[in-house]
């Protein structure tokens, strides 16, 4: 492998990692605070991508991405609100399996609703006006849009860190991760907190969908594709940890891009092998919190 190839793969991997981080941070946040594995997270991501494609088509490609980000996040958060208050809230006292199945039912429903609203054709979304060119990184062309994804992911990461560690909401979230019973005992409305956290996670998924729309085709099936990778990220990093999501996303993104180059036949296996190895050594992931038994 030439140094040139190395840089190319590294940048591709980091771009993928940026996207995966935004998706899995939401998944991880929801799990950490609520102990719910949301299989419908990928569906919210797909919903965000399709919403963004419509917004960009309406507003125009030049500045369309900005409103698309906002609208996609809002739509996903709205659907998240409906899911949490309408369905999940009734299942917190039941077995994990029923929660998993409920979110799986939502996967099926959203997939068909998206198919009904947007049809089966793949859609492409034009990049915004300032981000269509490429810059040179050590002789390698890096599309500005990829750079934008990386920077945006870092900004989201910074924002999440600030919210979780420096605000009242974040204090409640951290408390809920440790012990929701005590949190309710000191007078916090845990039910409302859960709704907020779930909407925040959903908004992140929707935003990630909007971000990815101009970089790849928007189509049916992207919900399951991203879900499997996001699971790999959160499992490696540890469910419930934002830092874990960051590290996990970097590992999966980079393993993915180098895996394709080094073992083209077994590129997919590299991710899952990494996942199995991490879990076998640390069953709750690198930064994960062990499950409350």
């Amino acid at each position: 492998m030439t140094p040139q190839d190395f840089v190319t793969q590294l940048l591709a991997g980091l771009t993928r990692a940026g996207l995966l981080f935004i998706v899995s941070a939401g998944l991880s946040l929801v799990f950490g605070a609520m102990r719910v594995i949301n299989l419908a997270h990928g569906s919210l991501y797909m919903l965000g991508a399709f919403t963004a494609s419509t917004v960009v088509a309406t507003v125009g490609a030049d500045i369309g991405l900005l409103p698309a980000l906002v609208v996609a996040a809002a739509v996903a958060a709205g659907v998240g609100l409906a899911i949490e208050t309408g369905i999940l809230r009734r299942l917190y006292q039941k077995e994990h399996l029923l929660q998993l199945l409920a979110t799986y039912a939502i996967v099926l429903i959203v997939a068909d609703v998206v198919r009904y609203v947007w049809g089966v054709e793949n859609r492409s979304v034009a990049r915004p006006v300032g981000l269509r060119s490429s810059i040179n990184v050590i002789g390698d062309p890096l599309p500005l849009y990829n750079l934008f994804i990386i920077v945006f992911a870092l900004a989201i990461g910074g924002g999440l860190w600030f919210v979780v560690n420096r605000t009242g909401l974040g204090r409640d979230i951290r408390a809920a991760i440790t012990d929701p019973e005590m949190l309710a005992g000191v007078g916090v409305n845990v039910s409302w907190l859960f709704t907020t956290v779930f909407m925040l996670g959903a908004a992140l998924a929707g935003m990630a969908g909007a971000i990815v729309a101009p970089a790849s085709a928007v189509g049916l099936g992207m919900d399951i594709d991203i879900l499997v990778e996001a699971f790999a990220v959160t499992i490696i990093g540890g469910l419930g940890s934002i830092a874990g999501s960051l590290v996990g996303a970097a590992i999966v993104g980079i393993a993915d891009s180098f895996g394709i180059l080094l073992f083209p036949r077994l590129s997919l296996a590299v991710i899952f092998l990494a996942m199995a190895v991490v879990l076998a050594i640390r069953p709750s992931g690198l930064f994960g919190i062990p499950e409350r038994v």
Partner: protein, 336 residues
């Protein structure tokens, strides 16, 4: 534990009799559907040994079904053997693969266990998907040659039925054995089960291996009746089908998955014919069951029958909630 009592035994015998005479009154196309139902019933019942009986949520069960299907397919492809040899061989194959992956996955508990089974089953999927020289990769293996007597759909159905009935009887004996009772104890309360001397991990690995072996048996029957094996059999979303079946039928009774298999397949055949949006319909039904009737059809029937006969309602069918001693229960009381 309760043995095989005479009255249910007569019921089961009647059911088998009806199933065995099905080719006399069903059309050919309906026999394909019937074959699907029988295989699905066996597969889902083997999963229910984990889900309903032990309380283990595994996302690797489709992978073992796929292992069985590929056992038959690969014997034919590489060695030119009759795929029928895959039927007995699929059992040890499934057991070995399930044992190895299960030993890994059971290092974790509960949710992390589920995720670990997901990861490991995806590894198996990738093996089938990308190892072209051995499995033909994503093309799958089609047109498996079966012996001439299986050209008749009725014969193929009878073969599948005979083996599935044997498998189901074996599964029922396991479920009703002292071993099965220990599994129930583990489902109800792992901690107390270990206090009375049950080695929880060892029992879980044993039942995981057994369930995997029967899933592989069902898979080998699929490969023979459909004459194909393909990677998507192993993909983790394929687990939705047997989980659906168990949930529709009810996970707390042995017969639940059998009812579920009939209902799901008939539902799919009718719904997919009527609408483009079959996932939407299935999703809504699944959601309704999860929210309104977690005991499934058997649970509902049980409740109605219980009321009619003035019997006490079955405790397990009703309490789908966490078991006593589950620390989460204490936490959740606060929320409501």
């Amino acid at each position: 534990m309760r043995g095989l009592r005479p009255r249910p035994l007569i019921g089961w015998a009647g059911l088998v009799l009806v199933a065995a005479t099905a080719p006399l009154f069903l059309k050919e196309i309906e026999l394909f559907t019937a074959t699907r139902i029988v295989i699905l019933a066996l597969w889902a019942t083997s999963l229910n040994l984990l889900l309903g009986q032990t309380g283990l949520v595994s996302f690797a069960h489709a992978a073992y079904f796929g292992v069985g299907a590929y056992t038959s397919a690969l014997l034919w492809l590489h060695l030119g053997w009759s795929p029928l040899i895959g039927i007995p061989l699929s059992i040890p194959m499934g057991a070995v693969v399930a044992f190895v992956t299960g030993a890994f996955a059971l290092r974790a508990a509960r949710l992390y266990f589920s995720l670990l089974t997901l990861a490991l089953s995806q590894l198996l999927f990738v093996g089938a998907f990308q190892w072209y020289s051995f499995t033909r990769g994503d093309n799958g293996i089609h047109g498996i040659e079966v012996p001439e007597f299986l050209y008749s759909i009725a014969n193929s159905y009878w073969l599948v039925l005979a083996i599935s009935v044997l498998g189901l009887v074996a599964l029922r004996l396991i479920a009703r054995s002292p071993f099965g009772a220990a599994l129930l104890a583990i489902r109800e309360n792992r901690q107390r089960a270990s206090f009375i001397g049950i080695n929880v991990k060892r029992y879980e690995l044993a039942v995981f291996t057994i369930a995997g072996a029967f899933a592989a048996l069902a898979g080998s029957l699929f490969a023979i009746s459909n004459q194909e094996a393909f990677p998507n059999l192993l993909f983790w979303t394929a687990n939705a089908t047997p989980i659906f079946v168990i949930l529709i039928g009810g996970m707390f009774r042995f017969g639940g998955p059998l009812i579920g298999a009939v209902v799901l397949v008939v539902l799919e055949e009718t719904v997919t014919r009527e609408t483009l949006y079959s996932n939407l319909v299935l999703g809504v039904i699944l959601l309704a069951i999860v929210l309104l009737a977690p005991g499934g059809i058997e649970g509902i029937a049980e409740r109605i029958l219980g009321r009619v006969r003035g019997r006490r309602e079955p405790p397990v069918g009703e309490t789908a909630g966490p078991t006593p001693g589950d620390a989460q229960q204490g936490k959740r009381e606060v929320r409501t």
